[in-house]
């Protein structure tokens, strides 16, 4: 065999050896990658499964909270008036009054109630707890008449004039803490209410 042929054979063998060594190493690395990716995919699958209901649940929660917010803001608008409602919300949650105005379809500055009265006092006054502050309005007339403000509340009782019956055998008043909520009775119930009022001594 000629020397040139021997050298050629050696060179080819060296190249093939290099190919084999490196390609085997690459194959081993790729197997490691596959195994690691299998483990990662299992965890990622867990993430996908666990986070799947999040959108629906969060949307439902937001829907419920939005309904509650609308209800309370509507009540506040009705009871305190649109002008003062935004101011009251602003006094409790600084910065939120503008949002109330937006939802009311209005713009402008929020009435600054918080500078005049403390938060708790102004809420009690505006919500008609018969506080003297109710007579001292921030500007303009008082929202509630401090003398007759309890008329609506007292109308819930069978005998709003007082704990004593006006005539013998007459209707007896209900206890001073009426049931409120969806189960609140529309009219006074003589039997149970009388017993309670007698027990309370009023």
């Amino acid at each position: 065999m000629e020397p040139a042929a021997v050298v050629t054979l050696i060179a080819v063998v060296l190249v093939i050896l290099a190919l084999v060594v490196y390609l085997v190493a690459v194959i081993l690395e790729l197997r490691k990658i596959t195994a690691a990716l299998d483990a990662v995919i299992a965890s990622v699958g867990g993430i996908v499964t666990k986070s799947k209901p999040v959108n629906g649940v969060v949307e439902a929660i937001n829907k419920d909270l939005s309904a509650g917010t609308d209800l309370l803001e509507g009540l506040l608008d009705k009871k305190a008036g649109e002008d003062d409602a935004a101011g009251l919300v602003e006094s409790v949650f600084p910065g939120a009054g503008a949002s109330v105005l937006e939802r009311q379809g209005r713009s402008g500055e929020v009435k600054n109630i918080d500078e005049v009265y403390t938060r708790g006092a102004v809420q009690l006054a505006r919500l008609g707890r018969e506080s003297p502050l109710g007579a001292g309005a921030i500007s303009g007339a008082a929202l509630r008449d401090p003398t007759y403000a309890s008329a609506a509340a007292r109308s819930l009782y069978r005998n709003p004039s007082g704990p004593i019956t006006e005539e013998p055998g007459g209707p007896r008043h209900r206890p001073r803490s009426p049931t409120i909520g969806v189960d609140a009775p529309e009219a006074a119930d003589d039997g149970q209410a009388s017993d309670d009022s007698t027990a309370s001594g009023r």
Binding site: V15, L19, I33, K78, K79, A152, A153
Partner: protein, 85 residues
């Protein structure tokens, strides 16, 4: 014969080194991917574990619904008790 020797020289001095360099580059890239994927595994497991509390959102939703219902009841009562502006 001279051409054969030249071919041998090219094979040993050019082609073989180029093949080795290219294969070494592929191997180093594969090793880098391996280390990255192995580092990703504990992160994905931790992320999956962090989401275990998502199931509690169902309880939160129920609680929110009940709370809003109670608030609505109180609102209805306040609407009756309090005078309008």
């Amino acid at each position: 014969m001279t051409i054969w020797w030249i071919g041998n020289a090219v094979l040993l001095l050019v082609i073989a080194p180029v093949v080795v360099i290219l294969l070494r580059g592929v191997l180093s890239a594969a090793r880098a991917v391996t280390s990255t994927v192995e580092a990703l595994q504990p992160v994905a497991e931790a992320g999956s574990k962090d989401l275990d509390a998502v199931e509690l959102l169902n309880t939160t939703q129920e609680q929110v619904s009940q709370t809003v219902a109670v608030v609505a009841n109180y609102g209805g009562s306040l609407d009756t008790i309090l005078e309008d502006a």
